[in-house]
Symmetry: C2
Subunit: 360 residues, 2 copies
DNA sequence: CTGAAAGCGCTAACAT
DNA sequence: ATGTTAGCGCTTTCAG
């Protein structure tokens, strides 16, 4: 209706409603304290005036901004980007549910040829009491910058396990990559594949090793050999393609029509990959060789990627999908627990991905 | 070093430096007013104590939060998602450069089967003075929710042209889709293609129409006919594929080896698409027909997408790339101008996309 | 150039 | 159940 130059204040509402400022404050924060009729009267005026508590004043008084800080690092690799988008959306939504908002900040421009300071940007926010807590997403850097944060008295919860310290004293939420890859392996196994290859990353990265373990475990459980079925390459399409080619050639066969996937020796008939990027490489190689893809083992090769990226969705690539919505909810839960009570037992939550089954 | 329970305040610094609070404040906000030696002494203490002004107090006093609100709507279509990620990153970075941060908020959960309220979420932020301004990204909805914002006295700048009102009284930044598509068309033309098809969306969407215009103009300028070279379909891979098939079949030819792209009648030898999604469909159809892709017109078909999505990058698809980094910078510039001066002449900025040239 | 006073809008404690 | 008082930490007058 009206367009007041300056937003209504508590005092405005109080005067108009014929009560004191405190009563209005209570109407908002402790409605139970008011008599029903007073409450409704105050509420009417609040609505009429379009009053919303001044955020700064409230924050100054309560020392709570209802803001969650999330640092956006420099652009990550392909797949991480997409995941990040979905994650951020989910986090904003989940935080919104409990009355929080998400404050994005950047780690600052990384100086030429310099290692980015993993803590840059956090400090100011902590000291200026601009945010109540942080969601830290780059623990996978292996860098427990977490240490820096705890010492700084900044509440935070991590998306990602503290790989190097299983007993870390902070809450975290992570996705069970091994379980995801295992499900992927089971999937192609159910379709009749027995020679199931793994195309992963070079050993040493916790996430990569974890995912590989899922494949290895699944194979073992089915009594399948993994010999000659493994490649460790960097995360590019070309590398994935080369790896697939090498695996297909290695044990002979595979150049013609794919001899029908026996359970013994021989070229792989299915590929489980550590990323969609690698899987795209595999698809390219199979396509170049004229090998059919999808269906049961008799119909064509099996290919599964990881992250359910845009690429997977467009190409019809079956892929492991991280439950980022659940991750966000769990993070927010942990955060509210953290902010609510003084005694916080550090808890870890491990969520299981799903498999987005498509053509391949 | 130390870990004070509570962050240092202005008073702490003042006492330790042997000056008044005001002097410390000046040291931060008006360094010129201090004598050099006083300044350096105060600065030393500030550094020593790790002092950072309390954000809430400052905001309460100055009525400026140095926060820019950005609403994250519900997940968009494929390509928008990817673009959003890159855009948000760029915006955070650009805003950071001028000392602002980005506050994400959600439009609220859209009730089942209900049209999302395009203004939901903005109101509270405005009235609670939580943000200084907004960046509005969904003007392409054709919905000038902008109106609502202006009336509300909320400064904002739009990413996206006010299509339905060329003289809108707010600053905006947009990407010249027509120019991008034109560049794409020129690109395949330079490679020797003459029968260049356009696969776009059904008429009626400003963005789609604009992009199509770029193709049409480029064709006209080269004196090329566009007859029988156009398809308007929904934005899916399958639709793109069908459209390509239809165009290839329509004027005969094309099933064998592609007869070498004359300039007269005949099937298209190149496809410029309104989206990467459609282009992927084209690639699939060409692949199925055994038609080569890339190189000069003599070598293979030309295909260009739009948005330089992850998919394009992975598939080696040439694509029009929106300069989102520049968009972010321009938005922030417009915003600071808006916030700085009282007299703001509404300005529009139209940026030209680049062409990410790849295999196709 | 530096200091003292006032108050932004709100809520936690205490009155009533 | 409602009103009063005080003060969060900062910056904008205004005096010295």
């Amino acid at each position: 209706m009206e367009t007041p130059r300056t937003p209504a204040t508590l005092a405005d509402v109080a005067e108009r409603a014929g009560v004191s400022r405190q009563t209005v404050s209570n109407a908002i924060n402790n409605p139970d304290l008011l008599r029903p009729d007073t409450l409704s009267r105050v509420r009417a005026v609040i609505a009429e005036l379009g009053y919303t508590p001044n955020q700064a004043a409230r924050q100054l008084r309560t020392r709570s901004s209802r803001l969650i800080g999330l640092r956006l690092g420099p652009a990550q690799e392909f797949t991480a980007n997409m995941a990040m988008d979905r994650f951020v959306r989910s986090l904003v939504e989940a935080a919104g549910q409990v009355g929080h908002q998400v404050l994005l900040f950047s780690g600052g421009p990384v100086a030429e040829g310099e290692r980015p300071d993993p803590l840059a940007g956090y400090d100011d926010l902590v000291r200026s009491t601009a945010v109540d807590a942080f969601v830290v997403t780059d623990t996978y850097l292996g860098n427990p910058q977490t240490i820096g944060l705890t010492r700084r008295g900044a509440p935070f919860v991590a998306f990602g396990r503290p790989w190097d310290d299983p007993h870390a004293a902070h809450p975290w939420v992570d996705v069970d990559g091994a379980a995801g890859v295992r499900a992927a392996t089971e999937h192609v196994h159910r379709r009749g594949h027995r020679r199931i290859a793994w195309i992963g990353w070079p050993p040493g990265s916790p996430i990569g090793d974890d995912r590989r373990a899922g494949w290895h475990r699944a194979m073992s459980e089915h009594g399948l050999s993994t010999a000659g079925l493994e490649a460790a390459v960097e995360d590019t399409v070309d590398a994935g393609r080369s790896a697939a080619a090498a695996l297909l050639d290695d044990t002979g066969g595979g150049s013609g029509g794919g001899s029908g996937g026996g359970s013994g020796e021989g070229a792989p008939t299915a590929f489980v990959c550590a990323s969609d990027t690698l899987a795209v490489g595999v698809l390219a190689e199979l396509d170049a060789r004229g090998l059919a893809v999808g269906g049961s083992a008799a119909d064509g090769m099996g290919v599964v990627g990881f992250d359910d990226s845009q690429v997977a969705q467009v190409l019809g690539l079956t892929s492991v999908r991280q439950p980022l919505e659940q991750v966000a909810v769990a993070l927010v839960e942990a955060l509210t627990a953290l902010l609510g009570s003084t005694t916080v037992e550090p808890s870890g939550v491990l969520l299981t991905p799903t498999l987005a089954v498509r053509r391949t």
